[in-house]
């Protein structure tokens, strides 16, 4: 009972928030960039794409489907050797970032693909008959035309990353989710539980608001 009281609310919340921000701040852009790259490849190589390749598309598609069907908690465990190789340790906030990026990447790829496929096929055809190459079409048409949708996808991705990062406690990654479990649930610290939930609500609101703002700014239709 007593030792719990020594852990003050505010320092705990501050530490948890910073850890969450660090994990999401690195994992979300990491996922977004790698996911966008994979999403462009998926878009280009699909049967109706600008560089169709059945084999490549099927392989990439299978990869994203399989890795997305592994529950995140299990993925963390499976990736332990990789994590150790990349960051030297399998414990801590940095160690949690590795499965976050690798686990989120195929999800980001599908989100990006969905946003890119919103670009009208007729528009692509109009640029094909101008003599554009596949890379030109991806960079000059798909990317700018889908920008607004991609920003919305990035918003969804960031919020999902916050949820994913809550499981990072499994590898001692810390963060708000970890805090809520260890103090709020296991030690009945209602104040910590309420505090983490409140901060999470604010975080998600801010991300959603910011995402909406930028998506709207670049919406030109």
């Amino acid at each position: 009972m007593d030792y719990q009281a020594t852990s003050n609310l505010l320092p705990l919340l501050q530490k948890g928030t910073l850890e969450t921000l660090l994990m999401v701040g690195i994992a979300a852009p990491g996922c977004a960039i790698s996911g966008l790259f994979l999403g462009l490849l998926l878009t280009a190589t699909q049967p109706q794409g600008v560089a169709p390749s059945r084999v490549f598309y099927q392989a990439l598609s299978a990869f994203t489907n399989i890795s997305r069907s592994v529950p995140f908690l299990i993925l963390i465990v499976l990736l332990l050797p990789v994590t150790r190789l990349l960051v030297g340790t399998s414990i801590g906030t940095w160690a949690a970032i590795v499965p976050l990026v690798l686990g989120g990447m195929p999800y980001a790829a599908r989100l990006a693909e969905a946003a890119l496929l919103e670009v009208e096929p007729g528009l692509i055809q109009a640029v094909v008959v101008m003599g554009a190459s596949a890379p030109e079409i991806l960079l000059k048409v798909y990317l700018p035309e889908a920008l607004s949708g991609l920003l919305r996808a990035f918003t969804v991705l960031s919020i999902t990353m916050i949820n994913f990062s809550a499981m990072a406690g499994a590898v001692g990654g810390g963060g708000l989710g970890d805090l809520a479990i260890r103090y709020g649930y296991q030690r009945f610290r209602i104040d910590v539980l309420a505090g983490t939930v409140l901060i999470l609500i604010v975080l998600v609101q801010v991300i959603q608001f910011g995402g909406n703002y930028f998506a709207k700014r670049f919406y030109r239709r």
């Binding site: 055809q125 109009a126 008959v129 003599g131 239709r221």
Partner: protein, 296 residues
């Protein structure tokens, strides 16, 4: 004899003293001294559907002379879209050849094809302007793809904006433009690389009569001033009659008639053509046509 009119650094060729333009059903003689803008030889394309094989294009032969406005008229399902797609090699035909300005597009490598594409401007029914680019940036796109330097691009875009009377709209996004202005931007974009051929896919469908007339008049001005060959693929008889020098009738994947527009319309030789003209034989339509002609 050809006269080169210089439009800044772009060369637009005009045929001097061209004879009456012709569209012929026969496959062209390769030895002929008069090369055609577009020649289609035995172009065929079939699709497998539920009931078997459907011949969307069934041996299309057509030769279109340079410098004229040609029309291909066909009812729904006649094969217009398929013809356009095969002509532009968006789809490979099963058999037959497409010659654009004497160049056989079937045998081109992908890279050669991309370069040849600068010689054909296309305006689509739904325009397909990039929403993320301003009017000027849209017109600039084909020039970027063609690898034209920025300074030359800007000069060419300014020139085209001016020609189409939309100089003040260059920095507007398409969403902020009127339908007529968007159409002009799309036309300017199609003409950016000074193509020899302008292909128009249903340029007038879903337009009111007034806008339709202005679009058709612009197409005629484009032919007159830029010397491009224009091909209009449409189901709009009224529009074809108003603007086309030659008319070819597409029916069930075949060109069943071809010739000077008035001739084809006044004395159709086939049932297919007669059927296509039949609905427009009501007195109202006739008078509408007469008034359209009067506007000429």
């Amino acid at each position: 004899m050809r006269k080169a009119t210089s439009v800044s650094q772009f060369q637009v060729f005009e045929d001097e003293g061209a004879e009456t333009p012709a569209a012929t059903l026969s496959a062209p003689d390769i030895q002929t001294s008069r090369p055609f803008a577009i020649s289609l030889r035995g172009l065929s394309k079939s699709y497998r559907d539920g009931m078997g094989i459907h011949h969307a294009l069934d041996g299309v032969n057509l030769s279109l002379e340079k410098g004229a406005i040609h029309g291909i008229l066909g009812a729904s399902g006649a094969g217009k879209t398929t013809l356009l797609r095969c002509l532009l090699r968006l789809e490979r035909a099963d058999a037959g050849e497409v010659l654009i300005e004497g160049c056989n597009w079937n045998t081109l490598s992908d890279m050669q094809l991309r370069r040849e594409r600068h010689r054909v401007g296309v305006i689509f029914q739904h325009l397909h302007l990039l929403a993320s680019r301003t009017a000027a940036e849209n017109i600039s796109l084909p020039l970027e793809i063609a690898g034209i330097r920025k300074r030359d691009r800007e000069a060419r875009v300014a020139e085209l904006l001016e020609w189409f009377g939309i100089s003040d709209k260059g920095s507007e996004y398409p969403a902020k433009l009127s339908g007529g202005q968007r159409q002009r931007v799309a036309l300017a974009r199609a003409l950016a690389t000074a193509p020899a051929i302008l292909l128009a896919d249903e340029p007038t469908s879903a337009l009111d009569t007034e806008t339709k007339l202005s679009v058709l008049n612009v197409l005629r001005r484009i032919r007159d001033e830029f010397g491009v060959t224009v091909l209009i693929i449409t189901h709009d008889l009224q529009a074809a009659e108003y603007v086309c020098d030659t008319l070819s009738i597409l029916s069930s994947g075949r060109i069943v008639e071809s010739g000077p527009t008035a001739e084809v319309i006044d004395s159709p030789q086939t049932d297919e053509a007669r059927r296509l003209f039949a609905p427009s034989s009501s007195p109202e339509e006739r008078s509408a046509k007469a008034s359209l002609r009067g506007d000429l």
